[in-house]
């Protein structure tokens, strides 16, 4: 078995090396002249994101607008992961179920106090990452992960029960669903306004104070990212809760 694995691995490696090693075929690393970098597609993105969408961060613009559909399904992937993990590990033990015995159930004063100080900051940072994702690295997903991490931190510093009091399992599910609904809602809104799915430009017709499709895209992207954040935050927390408690959702790590 190990031998077979070795053979497979080396074959794959050789094939890949064969692919990248040909000097006149495979573009060198970092050359601006590679077909990928010279292609109209890449050039279009660099040149036109700002005029199409008013968003300086090309990655965000491409992510949330040009390839917004991908991102919608990226969110769905997260949602699927949450649902799937719930479906796989969640056990329902009503009544006198034994709590998971943990190494130290008593919260430590130093840690809890640090977390008390940090968690609001982390959450603020998460929101900053989300809101500022248009002009600096970041966006809904990163913000969502950080936000989720803040709740995970609560669970780590105190106890999952405490965390669940702030953000219960049910709320997590609802938030994750709402995130996708927000995303798909933007898409459907553009459908109802007579354009293609996720063609945010048209939303300027109903958005007060926005007169150009470009700005509409700008704002819609923010809205979409908020949707992503909702889903990611809640699912990250949910996954942590489920994994840390073997699906019992009480006490735990």
């Amino acid at each position: 078995m190990k031998k077979l694995a070795g053979i497979v691995v080396f074959t794959v490696g050789l094939i890949l090396l064969y692919g990248v090693s040909s000097l006149d075929d495979f573009p060198s690393w970092g050359t601006p002249d590679s077909p990928a970098n010279k292609s109209p597609l890449s050039q279009y993105f660099i040149k036109n994101t700002i005029v199409d969408t008013e968003v300086p961060n090309m990655v965000t613009a491409v992510l949330a607008d040009y390839r917004g559909y991908d991102t919608m399904f990226e969110t769905v992937v997260i949602f699927v992961a949450g649902l799937g993990i719930f479906a796989v590990v969640r056990v329902f033990e009503h009544g006198g179920a034994s709590r998971v015995v943990t190494a130290d159930t008593k919260p430590d004063i130093i840690i809890t106090n640090t977390c008390r100080l940090l968690i609001p900051l982390i959450q603020l940072f998460a929101l900053y990452v989300l809101a500022h994702g248009h002009s600096s690295p970041g966006g809904g997903f990163q913000g969502g992960v950080i936000m989720g991490a803040s709740f995970i931190l609560v669970a780590l510093a105190w106890d999952l029960d405490i965390a669940l009091k702030r953000f219960s399992e049910k709320q997590a599910f609802i938030c994750s669903g709402i995130g996708i609904l927000i995303y798909a809602g933007f898409g459907l809104a553009s459908v109802f306004l007579g354009e293609e799915f996720l063609n945010y430009g048209i939303i300027h017709k109903i958005l007060p104070g926005v007169d150009s499709p470009e700005m509409a895209r700008y704002y819609a992207m923010l809205g979409v990212e908020i949707g992503v954040m909702f889903t990611v935050t809640s699912i990250m927390f949910l996954i942590y809760g489920l994994l840390a408690t073997r699906g019992k959702m009480t006490a735990g790590l």
Binding site: L16, S21, I46, M58, I78
Partner: protein, 163 residues
């Protein structure tokens, strides 16, 4: 030779990392080890994509310095369209001439290619989703069989099949 190494180094390392990851996935006995291998594998692929996007020396991160709104949307939009379609998107100087007071067009060589970055954001998300699900399945396996070693596991499954 130095040139050769330097121009491919990223790719070679990615291949090696991928081999390591694949080897971990296939031949490791412990399920969590397999998952670590899987993550290494996926990360190596992301490395590949990110390497594709690099434009050495000349390029900046794909975020425009936001000096107000000096990219005039309306004109630039029309220009961009005509530019890309009549000149195949390669010649932006012509665009400048066509619009003497025209907008500032970002230089395509001045920024890293944003598209692979976008793709890889998605890939990372997919990776973490897969990892989470796999860990959940691992926990379920442990709950049912009490072991995470593949050989013991397969034996127990076989016993299940016969029993």
């Amino acid at each position: 030779m130095e040139e050769f190494i330097q121009s491919r180094f990223n790719y070679w390392i990615y291949v090696i990392l991928m081999m390591i990851g694949l080897w971990g996935m296939i031949s490791k006995n412990n399920l969590i080890k397999k998952l670590i291998g899987m993550s290494i594998f996926q990360t190596a692929i992301i490395l590949f994509y990110v390497s594709v996007a690099v434009k050495s020396e000349t390029a900046n991160i794909p975020i425009l310095p936001h000096h107000g709104h000096d990219y005039s949307p309306k004109i630039a939009f029309a220009h961009a369209v005509s530019d890309d379609h009549e000149n195949g998107g390669h010649d932006d100087h012509a665009g400048h001439q066509a619009h003497p007071v025209g907008p500032k067009i970002p230089d395509p060589d001045g920024y890293a290619n944003p598209l692979p970055h976008v793709l890889m954001l998605t890939a990372i998300v997919v990776g973490v989703a897969t990892l989470g699900l796999a860990l959940a399945i691992t926990q379920k396996i442990y709950r049912e069989y009490g072991t995470l070693e593949e050989d013991q596991l397969l034996e127990k499954v076989r016993a299940d099949d016969h029993g």
